[in-house]
Point group: C2
Chain length 154, copies 2
DNA sequence: TTTAATATTGAAAATAAATTTCAATTTGAA
DNA sequence: TTCAAATTGAAATTTATTTTCAATATTAAA
């Protein structure tokens, strides 16, 4: 898992991605760079369609196939993670320096809230160590009804 | 979340499912009963294909569409849950009286291990309460490399 | 038990996200 | 510059799941 990249400038992250690509014997293309830069602008969760439409809105000619292909590379490089699914669609999030992905998902309004809970994270890590797992990442999804939706029900 | 149904006989669970169906104004069919009975035999995780093939192996003529339809009802009734996905396919598990679904998933061999960790479960519940969530269920997935795969790498 | 309204079924078609194919283009080491 | 190899966009394909629909089964009422 990547860590402490919060303060890194995007320009440096782009350079690192180029190195990652080169190290794999692949070719560094303008499409790959453009997609990474666009992803680094996204604050929260995104899906392929959203990202693709943002690129198109800027006049980019990048294909959806390339978006899918670059997302795979960015996951491998540790820049993003698939964090949940909704309506048969994958959602991603930039994971640079962020603590792992704990989400509360409302089954009524489909809202997804981040959970920040260090105690939970420590316990997960402790458990993994005990069981001899080498954890790379982990997801916790709590499904339920959010406080807004509880109000509108009662 | 259902609880303490561990000791219930299958025959009683089947009766409860019939009541659930009736209460919804639906019709109780032999297909629905047959699918529930087959699911109650499964010890671990299963997917639709697996379940469908088991039924076919017994000479059943139930269609895959009905398997999908009944699974939706059983989720709604609280008998099963979708516990994870692999290769774009949903996996389910009987959830009667079981503690929530915490899984370690090996990214090399794709093995899925159950995690039994009461401390974790308590902490998740405590957090939900604090945040005013009404949790219905939750999933924790730790992705990493299992102890077997670590050996074969080094 | 018969009736009739309505839900359910199996089979086939549809859906849609993700992946693959392939010819044209781009990249980058020599 | 050269050129083998990787990448691209567009279209085709894949595949789990959902939907459609005519035939059939269920169930409550007559
Ligand atoms: Mn998140
Ligand atoms: Mn499980
Ligand atoms: Zn809500
Ligand atoms: Zn493994």
């Amino acid at each position: 898992m990547r860590s402490s990249l919060k303060t890194k400038e995007n320009i440096e992250l782009v350079k690192e991605f180029k190195e990652f690509i080169k190290k794999k014997g692949l070719k560094y293309t303008s499409e790959r760079e453009e997609i990474l830069k666009e992803i680094l602008k996204v604050k929260d969760h995104f899906d392929v369609e959203e990202l693709y439409m943002k690129l198109r809105g800027k006049g980019s000619k990048i294909s959806k196939a390339s978006v899918y292909r670059t997302i795979s590379l960015l996951i491998e490089a540790g820049y993003i993670q698939e964090v949940y699914r909704q309506n048969a669609r994958s959602y991603y999030e930039v994971t640079l320096d962020k603590i792992p992905h704990l989400h509360f998902i409302c089954i009524k309004c489909k809202k997804v809230e981040e959970i920040i809970e260090n105690e939970l994270i420590k316990l997960i890590q402790k458990h993994s160590k005990q069981k001899n797992y080498a954890p790379l990442t982990y997801h916790l999804e709590i499904f339920g009804i959010c406080s807004d939706c509880i109000k509108s029900i009662s």
